[in-house]
């Protein structure tokens, strides 16, 4: 099977040669490595809680074009909106606002024209999924925010999948923030009910004193496979705030690889997963402290309904020289019944001796006493559960400064809880 898949993906890559000038040799080396390792399975430690059956069973073709896609409504006021349909930039659906006046915006294909050496800075990946993203990337957004530029309203990247049964979109976004720049990027993932695969990589470099806020809302279709990775490098005194919300997809995974490369940098990776019946939501983080005097913090809250599954694997590496690092990690999972599953695997790899690192993990059910307390004040049980789940996830959303955006995400939690109540019947 693996051989057949490899041949298929090789043939796909052939058709893409030359589409992103400067990236062809990178494609080839990624393919070669993919040929050796294939897709991850549950025997791969980093993927032990994931569901990669769909990826290993059958080839996903390159998704074709679509003009009939339903485009999700913007998540509030935005400075610009970039829409990708089936992995390709859709100019007519996008709205660049005044953003182009503030910074260079390029499609991935043009990124390396001026400076081909930059192509070598593209991350190649370390597993079958990210290697294929490199081998098959076709389009993406390249934003270069000049030093000192601050954009208040979010820049939204919408990923839409439409009519792409057994087909995939491999997007690659590159975001570079100059010194002291500050932007918010929202990534919104939506799609129809076909069995598609979204495979997205975002890489970001945050220069000294710059600040990137990165909010992801994953609302893929019910049969979708979603694999996404963020690779983020932080220079001195820079800040990264990532909040990931996973709601959709059949098998959905998000990885954040954060490298703290400058002192007094501050990285936050937070997330909420809401896994309904039959869904698998999986998060892996790896924060590497490479220099002294920096901080990182991770807050993850997951909720799993009947036969839903969530997992969090959080790794923090502190190299020998990274003294005075402060790194915290908090994971809490809710399971609605015995068939729901939550997994957590914190991992601290600390080689420095003067650091403050902590992690905590709890898994439990909604507190019956709290539900009774709320209902004994006149609140119906469905609303009581909603209130408690909303409160449970709140810690993971506090780092979203934009109140309207945070409220939009909280509303997703309420809607999700409302659909649970319908499924299980009001009152119980």
């Amino acid at each position: 099977m693996q051989e057949q898949l490899t041949e298929g993906y090789k043939a796909q890559a052939e058709t893409l040669m030359g589409t992103v000038p400067g990236a062809d040799s990178l494609r080839q080396s990624a393919l070669k490595e993919f040929e050796g390792i294939g897709f991850p399975t549950n025997r791969t430690e980093e993927w032990r809680y994931s569901d990669t059956k769909a990826l290993r069973a059958e080839e996903f073709a390159l998704a074709g074009t679509s003009t009939s896609a339903e485009i999700a409504a913007p998540l509030g006021e935005t400075a610009a909106r970039f829409v990708f349909v089936n992995g390709r930039y859709a100019e007519e659906l996008s709205d660049l606002g005044d953003l182009w006046q503030a910074m260079p915006i390029r499609p991935l294909a043009n990124h390396f024209m001026a400076n081909p050496d930059r192509a070598t800075e593209l991350i190649r990946g370390n597993d079958g999924v990210s290697l294929l993203n490199t081998a098959l990337m076709r389009d993406g957004l390249v934003l270069s925010v000049p030093a000192g530029i601050e954009i208040d309203e979010p820049i939204e990247i919408v990923h839409v999948m439409d009519g792409a049964d057994q087909a995939a979109a491999h997007t690659r976004h590159v975001i570079e923030l100059g010194e002291g720049a500050e932007i918010t990027v929202i990534e919104h993932f939506v799609g129809d009910a076909s069995a598609y695969w979204t495979n997205s990589v975002l890489q970001a470099r945050i220069a000294e004193g710059a600040k990137l806020r990165h909010v992801r809302l994953q609302e893929e279709g019910e049969a979708a496979t979603h694999t996404a990775k963020a690779y983020v490098n932080l220079d001195a005194e820079s800040e990264y705030y990532c909040v990931n919300m996973s709601v959709g997809g059949k098998a959905a995974r998000f990885e954040a690889h954060v490298r703290v490369l400058g002192e007094e940098a501050d990285a936050h990776v937070d997330g909420v997963s809401l896994a309904g019946t039959g869904q698998n939501h999986d998060t892996l983080t790896h924060v590497s402290h490479m220099v002294p005097n920096a901080t990182s913090d991770q807050i993850f809250r997951t909720v799993a309904d009947t036969r839903g599954k969530t997992a969090f694997q959080g790794k923090v590496t502190v190299v020998k020289d990274a003294q005075l690092t402060e790194a915290d990690q908090s994971f809490k999972a809710l399971v609605f019944d015995k068939t729901a599953e939550a997994n957590s695997k914190p991992e601290l790899e600390i080689l420095a001796d003067d650091v403050k690192c902590s992690h905590g993990a709890t898994i439990g059910q909604l507190d019956d006493k709290a539900i009774f307390y709320l209902t004994s004040r006149g609140i119906d049980p469905v609303t009581a559960r909603k209130i408690l789940v909303e409160a449970f996830t709140a810690d993971a959303l506090v780092n979203i400064e934009n109140e309207a955006l945070r409220e939009t995400l909280v509303e997703r939690i309420r809607v999700w809880m409302a659909s649970r109540a319908e499924n299980v019947g009001a009152g119980e």
């Binding site: 307390y373 004040r377 119906d380 049980p381 609303t383 449970f392 009152g427």
Partner: protein, 245 residues
């Protein structure tokens, strides 16, 4: 208002209430006294409708209605309030939001519109101030980090906001110092009207110095064994349960 007839209740398969009878009329304050394990809290929780309290026989009527047919939140809508012996901490939910959701749930149950945010703020600030609760505490998470006394005071603020017909107060006096006890008692007395009733569940007589009951009941082993006027409380204090019963 409240009529309990031959009530039998099991908790985890053990019979705790063994044929309890009680009638409370509008305008009355009743005190139920008894030692630990007599079933006082079981009675309170059964009236409120906690689901692990299984009624195996008997009936509870509230204003002519079969209370056992109603869900806990519906009972509140009908006008019943339970003051908890151990109020629950709810991290992530502010006191204000909690109370506003509660009040509007009860209004909705009774076919009334939501109270506006401004009107609600006025109401809750007034009630908090009457009960000596710092307005800052309203913004905090429900009971999180509250002292024992603050939690009980918070219960009284909730009662005042919901303005129930029947308040069942489970050991509301426990854990209170003398000042807090006085303030809480004032809250209870403010709720005492011709059209309301109060059921005080207590261990000790001291609350009854501040809130004068019309009827005192002695509860032993899941039954009310003796009822009388407020002098019965003093007698219990003096002689102990064994001799009085």
């Amino acid at each position: 208002m409240l009529k309990i007839n031959d009530l039998h209740v099991h908790v985890d398969g053990t019979e705790i209430l063994k044929g309890l009878d009680l009638e409370v009329k509008a305008g009355e304050v009743h005190a139920i006294m008894g030692l630990n394990g007599a079933g006082k809290s079981t009675l309170a929780n059964t009236i409120a409708g906690r689901d692990d309290y299984e009624v195996s026989a008997g009936s509870i009527e509230f204003e002519g209605q079969d209370l056992l047919e109603l869900e806990p939140h519906e009972r509140v809508g009908e006008g019943i309030f339970l003051g908890f012996q151990y109020p629950v901490e709810i991290p992530g939910v502010s006191n204000l939001n909690f109370m506003r959701t509660a009040l509007n749930s009860v209004r909705k149950y009774n076919g009334e519109d939501d109270m506006s945010a401004a009107e609600f703020m006025k109401l809750i600030r007034a009630k908090a101030s009457e009960l000596g609760m710092d307005a800052e505490m309203l913004k905090r998470f429900v009971n999180v980090g509250f002292s024992g006394g603050e939690k009980k005071r918070n219960e009284m603020v909730q009662m005042a906001v919901l303005n129930p017909k029947l308040a069942v107060l489970d050991e509301t006096d426990s854990g209170l110092d003398i000042d807090a006890l006085r303030i809480v008692s004032e809250g209870i007395n403010a709720q005492r009207r011709d059209d309301t009733a109060i059921l005080l569940i207590t261990h000790y007589q001291r609350l009854l110095n501040y809130v004068q009951p019309d009827v005192v009941h002695v509860m032993i082993d899941g039954k009310i064994v003796k009822s009388g006027g407020k002098e019965l409380a003093a007698e219990l204090e003096e002689k102990g349960y064994a001799d009085v019963a």
